[in-house]
């Protein structure tokens, strides 16, 4: 346990350091890219089609990978190039070093520089970072120069990339200027980006002209033709690929797509998702060895024959006269095993656009040096690191994914990134030391996990049981956990940061309250009172489905609503009744959201089955399941697809609603909004929706409902509040959580009224703003 406490404080210290050193630059860059991406996505009508097509191409290509490997080998070889399938990093590095040494040996050495080291120029490639190619080549006496400006800066600084697309994103302009001034000692110190860029262009231009070999990555490799697709904005990849006579392209095997036409959706999507550009500056589709003339910068003969008119000169490849040498190195390094792994396979569809990093609030705060492993960073890094470097490299940072799911709609190939994080967390949990002390919560926590699970995770994963106990013993439990020694114990044993306010448990739960006031019979009477007006949410624009006007709702008593934030549950009941819908509030099982967030998949799986069993009769009877806590609804609509049989999943997803979505449906179809507490026309109000609610597309109904009720809601642009269930309680993440939360607080701070849909979001904002932040339903509900 001491180990874990130390780990937690070390992690906290590391993240604190990153927040203060790199956070500012990362936030500025990543959030800008994310906003641009979102704007470009919104302006692209064909987006969803394109994403679905891109996804389908990747699924098919990975499925057919062994066959595509054969196809590409034939294509490249018949073009006159070579394909090398490298098993792992060492294998790839050895092959590339041999190619470089051979190629340099063939070059006639300058008289005065006969001892020149073989030299390589490179364009940006995360795959070569993965295998540490530069170090391996340098050990062989080869000089390596990165030509992407960001990578070059990092090479000089001897740092690792902090972002898969913008590797030097964590450095400010001043830091870059200082670094290069120091390294090159120019007459005048570098100040402006223009001066830096001009210097880099000249300096790197020379390196490129002298180089023996150009090394590039590949964004895509077309199997049928042996074509390498390179997507860049600077133009350095073009130069590296065609200037030296020898070109080595290094790509993971997952980069193969069958044919040239398959590139179209990716060319369309990759720049949009990466930077919000409609297309990148240069999309090079190069089928090496190309006809483009080789250029000997030491010679003074014409590069092209004088008689050339381009159209009549025969292709050098066709005439077999090419001086060019081309090697395609395709890297396995764990990928073929990922392909066999039902959970990690999706990672191979990734096109490395970085959108998942940019859309992630935790990434925006700490960057890839915090939220990243040996090579890869951001949400999808968990899948990549687990696949290519092993579980341990992923475990380091995996907990920075809170499952907020904002990356899901950013990803151009529709990867369920949070699920990969959940699965890898689950595997890590299971692999943890089984001898670790479990006695504290064993017996108390009826979970389905193996021994050795981190106590804090086990606590948060079983928070429903804890809440039930705490509520039953309230207010004593509240006094108890409010005491300093208990807080110290909670921090020590469970990693709950003592600076974070704990929830206050209510002695009377929502379920008890509802029963005390007469249960369903009383609700039915209330709903049929003359003031109550009927509507039918199933007829609403939000969800078109059959159904009569006599709705009945099951209000889901999620853990927080039932035990902690009982008032919002009461508000929901009153609202539904006023709109003519009788309500039942049965004591239902937990949704599984809590264990899912801790990577406890089997516990969640068991809870999903229990929950479904408990509601199926009501659903069959045509009742609607209405949910207040968005994260629970998101479990029903997203994760349950993986946990329940298909038909059960569909029944539940089709018949469960977010509370404001449901109420909006009621007022849209005839219920009278005037029975609610309406605003005075355009009453300004700040609304922070919940991250998972947004991903479900359910921010809009709440906003529409608020507008309908006489408010003028302003929504936040921050993707997530940073609290994210248990995340903000954890000692190692408390400061990251507050850093993220402050951005939301800044956005809404000047508004008189602030509402939020999630419990976590409300708690976080209440702490930071020091005033109440109710659920929108509490604002709208009629008085008792």
């Amino acid at each position: 346990m001491a180990d874990r406490t130390d780990d937690r404080s070390q992690t906290a210290a590391r993240l604190r350091h990153l927040l203060s050193t790199e956070g500012e630059a990362i936030y500025a860059n990543a959030s800008t890219l994310n906003n641009r991406r979102a704007a470009t996505y919104a302006a692209t009508d064909t987006l969803e089609d394109r994403r679905a097509t891109a996804r389908a191409i990747k699924e098919d290509a990975i499925e057919r990978l062994p066959e595509l490997l054969e196809t590409v080998r034939e294509a490249v070889e018949s073009n006159g190039g070579t394909v090398y399938l490298a098993d792992d990093a060492a294998d790839a590095n050895r092959y590339v070093a041999d190619v470089v040494v051979d190629s340099a040996a063939r070059e006639p050495a300058d008289d005065d520089t006969a001892v020149d080291a073989p030299s390589v120029v490179k364009s940006k490639s995360m795959t070569t970072e993965e295998i540490d190619l530069n170090d391996a080549l340098e050990r062989e006496g080869i000089t390596v120069t990165e030509t992407d400006l960001g990578e070059w800066v990092l090479q000089i600084a001897d740092e690792s990339p902090s972002h898969i697309v913008g590797p030097a994103m964590h450095l400010s302009r001043k830091e870059i200027a200082d670094l290069l001034t120091e390294a090159f000692d120019p007459d005048e110190r570098f100040e402006t980006p223009e001066a830096l860029t001009r210097f880099a262009r000249d300096h790197l231009g020379e390196r490129i002209r002298e180089a023996d070999v150009g090394i590039t990555g590949a964004n895509f490799v077309v199997a049928e033709t042996g074509t390498i697709a390179l997507v860049t904005n600077e133009g350095n990849a073009r130069k590296c690929a065609v200037t030296p006579d020898t070109h080595v392209a290094i790509a993971g095997v997952e980069k193969l797509v069958p044919s040239i036409s398959d590139l179209e959706p990716f060319v369309d999507l990759i720049a949009k998702s990466a930077t919000g550009q409609s297309i990148a500056q240069y999309v090079t589709m190069l089928t090496p060895p190309t006809d483009s003339p080789t250029i000997d910068f030491d010679a003074d003969e014409p590069i092209v024959p004088d008689s050339s008119d381009g159209k009549e000169t025969g292709s050098a490849r066709a005439t077999g006269t090419t001086d060019r040498d081309f090697h395609l190195v395709l890297l396995d390094n764990g990928r073929m095993a990922m392909r066999e792994d039902d959970q990690l396979r999706e990672t191979l569809y990734c096109i490395r656009c970085g959108a998942c990093s940019n859309s992630c609030v935790n990434f925006q705060s700490v960057g890839g040096h915090g939220f990243g492993g040996e090579t890869y960073s951001g949400g999808i890094a968990t899948g990549w690191e687990a696949g290519v470097h092993g579980q341990e490299s992923a475990a380091e940072f995996n907990d920075l994914c809170t499952g907020c799911s904002r990356c899901v709609e950013a990803c151009p190939v529709e990867i369920d990134i949070p699920w990969i994080n959940t699965v890898v967390r689950d595997r890590h949990n299971r692999g943890a030391d089984p001898a670790a002390a479990d006695f504290l919560v064993d017996g108390l926590t009826p979970d389905a996990e193996t021994g050795g699970l981190d106590l804090g995770k086990r606590f948060f994963g079983n928070v429903g049981t804890v809440a039930r106990l705490a509520s039953a013993t309230a207010p004593v439990s509240n006094w108890l956990v409010g005491s300093t020694p208990v807080r110290a114990m909670l921090e020590q044993a469970l990693g709950i940061d003592r600076r974070r306010d704990l929830p206050t448990f209510q002695r009377e739960t929502l379920v008890d309250w509802f029963e005390t006031r007469g249960g369903f019979a009383a609700s039915k009477t209330r709903a049929s009172e003359p003031g109550a007006r009927h509507g039918d949410p199933k007829e609403s624009k939000q969800r078109a489905a059959a159904g009569g006007p006599d709705r009945e709702a099951i209000l889901y008593p999620d853990v927080y609503t039932n035990f902690v934030d009982v008032d919002r549950g009461k508000a929901a009941v009153r609202t539904l009744e006023a709109l003519g819908v009788p309500v039942r509030v049965p004591d239902l099982p937990e949704s599984g959201r809590a264990p899912l967030s801790q990577g406890m998949v089997s516990t969640a799986d068991r809870q999903a089955s229990r929950l479904y069993a408990a509601v199926v009769e009501d659903l069959d009877a045509g009742r609607d399941l209405v949910v207040i806590e968005p994260s629970d609804l998101a479990a029903f609509h997203r994760e349950y697809e993986r946990l329940l049989p298909e038909a059960s999943y569909e029944t539940l997803a089709e018949n469960s609603y977010e509370i404001c979505e449901y109420v909006y449906g009621l007022v849209e179809t005839g219920a009278d909004a005037a029975v609610l507490q309406t605003g005075a026309g355009n009453e300004p109000i700040a609304y922070h929706s919940h991250c998972q609610q947004r991903t479900l597309g359910l921010e809009a109904p709440t906003t529409a409902l608020l507008e309908r009720c006489g408010y003028d809601p302003q929504t936040t642009s921050a993707e997530c509040c940073g609290m994210a269930g248990s995340f903000g309680y954890k000692r190692e993440f408390y400061e990251v959580s507050v850093d993220v939360g402050e951005r939301v607080a800044d956005e809404v701070g000047s508004a008189e009224t602030v509402v939020a849909s999630g419990t976590s979001c409300g708690d976080q904002l209440e702490t930071l703003l020091e005033r109440p932040v109710p659920h929108p339903i509490e604002l709208l509900a009629p008085d008792d």
Partner: protein, 168 residues
Amino acid sequence: MTLDTVSRFERALEALEVSFTLTLASDASEAIEAALEPPVVGVPLPFDDVSLPATVETAPTSADLVGAQTGITPVRFAIAASGTVAIESTTAGEEPFSLYPERHVAVVAESDVVPDLGAGFDRLERAFAAGDDSVVFATGRSATADMGGLVHGVHGPGEVHVVLLEDR
């Protein structure tokens, strides 16, 4: 090729800060001349009745290439929606000439301007099928944000000009 496509292309180029001349083939020499900043390296133009000014070096040495201010090349087709030109790599040197000099002048026939990426890919697939299988989609000027601000002309051209040859 509709008027609409040309104006769409024009708007896209404007947004990319790429300058643009629309000219009849018969007046093309003048339009081309005006777009060049010497010294110039170039690839001969395959369009009827249109040729490069005599001052353009079509068989440059490497020193000429490095010293050139402008590179002029024909492009195979253009995509109106994004303002993209499709540069084919041939033995005549389109790739280095469009990449090394500070300024690239791309010459395209009006009939080769296609509306969108989908139509561009149709053209690309046809070119590949015919064996012309190295093509760059170049959109606007070379750019980087890696030095702490957006700068154009890092490894590739910082200025691009498109000459569009009107069909008669």
